[in-house]
């Protein structure tokens, strides 16, 4: 099903025209309402009336997370405080939190894009939606919430935590759609089997998972364990929160709601826009938001775009499942390593589970990578030579795929923290010094 067929299946030429009109209006608002942007435009000699088409986007300045921090908390808001009806903020693990605001129309817009997301995942007014994303300053819970109400689903706003109760209520209420982070979905699956429950005793049919990068192997793991279809959804609070892009039932790329958020792919070094199909950093321009419309916001996420029409009928641009965030990329002995690559290697081996922790340190001026893997279930052999054999196999697979040697450490089950929100998979001790 398609929530907004008029927009989601619009002829591309017409869509680009709509984007251009909206962009031109947005540039005026940024120029007159946000001193930060006015200064950037003036430095480049850009007059608000100069920008008439999305073609010109490439000549406009970027916005970064640092700009949001420099203007903490409300410096980039484009409306008076009386118009702002909600504020969300990121956890701010690496400095001040990133603060975002919404007007009443922004909340409506957010509900609209979540309605599209949930509809693309097969949701409707007969569904029971179990929202285990955290409610609060994090955009996950409340973001999904309003869109779920908009499509008329029965919303269970359970938020995170208390896994046993989550399972109990999901079973009792006959929840059909689960919304949470992919790592929490796996944790729920694990807790389910520990509690002696089977996926068959649940009515779940689909999961909408996002807020962290996850691999295709992890998708298969979740789909097998929970017996559901796992849909990838994408968003970030700076742009709006969840609802920026979503997969449909084809699971073949995420449809970007580009009538509101224009995506571009740039080379993160040269900052040049890359042609369609090439991998680079994803950049978004908000063209309809009122409270915090960011211009060319650099997401740090790496992906590719395609305008090829999807089998589902949607014509809006699709982004490939995120390969990882350029912030998550580790440089180990000069080699670029994404945690997701290690995850893929572990999940391709039947014996291991997707719980791992990467510990990077520098010993005698040399980077060392330690990979913690839990010994559980099929992995645990009574014989040391088999355990050592598996350890060597993991080391070998990492080395042949990434070209770096890793020291694999076998740890007891549950040693690695199970996350109810975004999971922590890397400890870089080089940064702590």
């Amino acid at each position: 099903m398609i929530w907004n067929e008029f927009i989601e299946c619009m002829d591309r030429e017409r869509l680009v025209k709509l984007q251009s009109e909206r962009l031109a209006v947005m540039i005026h608002r940024l120029y007159f309402n946000v001193p930060f942007y006015r200064r950037l435009f003036q430095e480049r000699g850009i007059e608000p009336g100069d920008i008439k088409s999305v073609e010109q986007l490439k000549d406009l300045p970027f916005t970064t997370k640092q700009d949001l921090r420099d203007n903490y908390p409300f410096g980039l808001f484009a409306v008076p405080k009386s118009e702002v009806i909600r504020v969300h903020a990121s956890s701010g693990t690496t400095g001040k939190p990133t603060v975002v605001g919404y007007t009443r129309r922004d909340i409506d817009l957010w509900s609209e894009v979540i309605a599209r997301t949930l509809t693309a995942a097969g949701g409707g007014n007969t569904d029971v939606l179990h929202i285990a994303y955290g409610y609060g300053l994090f955009t996950g819970g409340l973001g999904i919430h309003y869109g779920a109400e908009k499509i008329g689903a029965t919303v269970i706003p359970i938020s995170g935590g208390n896994t046993q109760r989550q399972l109990q209520l999901m079973q009792d209420f006959g929840s059909t759609i689960l919304a949470c982070t992919p790592s929490y979905a796996l944790y729920l699956a694990e807790a389910m089997s520990e509690a002696g429950m089977t996926a068959d005793s649940f009515k779940l049919k689909v999961g909408v998972f996002g807020a962290e990068p996850w691999t295709e192997e992890m998708r298969r793991e979740i789909e097998n364990k929970l017996k559901i279809k796992a849909i990838d959804i994408y968003g970030l609070s700076e742009v709006i929160g969840p609802g920026v892009a979503s997969e449909c039932m084809q699971q073949n790329g995420l449809h970007v709601f580009e009538d509101h958020f224009i995506p571009e792919i740039i080379d993160p070094q040269t900052l040049e826009v890359l042609p369609e199909g090439q991998t680079g950093e994803l950049v978004f321009t908000c063209i309809t938001k009122e409270a915090l419309p960011l211009l060319r916001y650099r997401t740090r996420d790496l992906t590719t775009l395609t305008t090829e029409k999807c089998a589902c009928g949607r014509t809006i641009v699709r982004m490939q499942k995120c390969l990882g965030r350029s912030d998550d990329m580790l440089i180990i002995r000069g080699v670029n390593v994404f945690p997701s690559q290690i995850e893929t290697i572990l999940l391709e081996m039947r014996e291991t589970k997707p719980y791992y922790l990467l510990i990077v340190d520098r010993v005698n001026n040399l980077d060392v990578l330690e990979v913690w893997v839990e010994v559980e279930g099929e992995f645990f052999s009574d014989e040391i030579k088999k355990l050592e054999g598996l350890k060597k196999k993991i080391q070998h697979n990492i080395e042949s795929a990434l070209g770096i040697s890793a020291n694999v450490k076998l740890v007891e089950p549950k040693t690695i923290e199970r996350s109810e929100g975004k999971s922590k998979r890397v400890i870089d001790k080089r940064k702590l010094r």
């Binding site: 010994v375 040391i384 076998l410």
Partner: protein
């Protein structure tokens, strides 16, 4: 004649072994025999107890990786060549011993033997009149 042995994966962390022994003591589980195989960063504790299935559940609930392995208990008289005769029988039959450990039992020694071919090992040892300990006997020590 098959004895159910529990194997527990343990990281080399202070106090980890005590957590196992404490759990067993608390549940009233008696340990008949045990051995520890160790490497640089982990070890495997192998235990023969009076209630293997119950113990497996207790330890799993405590979050340990536990595995039940079938082993043989061979009674070896205290005299030179006693162990040699038994091992010779197994090697003549091409049965590989993965590991073994011994403990004293009244006038004899008992050797716990782990091999992939448990059934075959039992039958050849019995054919050669070797004395094996019954599971029920070892659990009740």
């Amino acid at each position: 004649m098959i004895i159910k042995q529990l194997s527990v994966f343990l990281e080399n962390k202070a106090g980890r072994l005590t957590e196992v022994t404490e759990a067993l003591a608390f549940a009233g589980i008696n340990i008949s025999a045990f051995s520890v195989a160790d490497t640089a960063d982990y070890g495997i504790l192998r235990l023969i107890v009076n209630k293997p299935e119950e113990t497996e559940k207790i330890l799993k609930d405590k979050g340990f990786s536990v595995h039940i392995t079938n082993v043989i208990g061979l009674i070896v008289p205290h005299e030179p060549g006693g162990l040699h005769r038994a091992l010779k029988i197994l090697s003549n039959e091409g049965i590989d011993v993965e590991y073994m450990y011994a403990f004293a039992l009244s006038n004899n020694a008992t050797v716990i033997i782990r091999t992939e071919a448990v059934e075959k090992a039992i039958s050849v040892l019995e054919q050669h009149k070797m004395e094996l300990i019954k599971a029920s006997d070892i659990y009740e020590i």
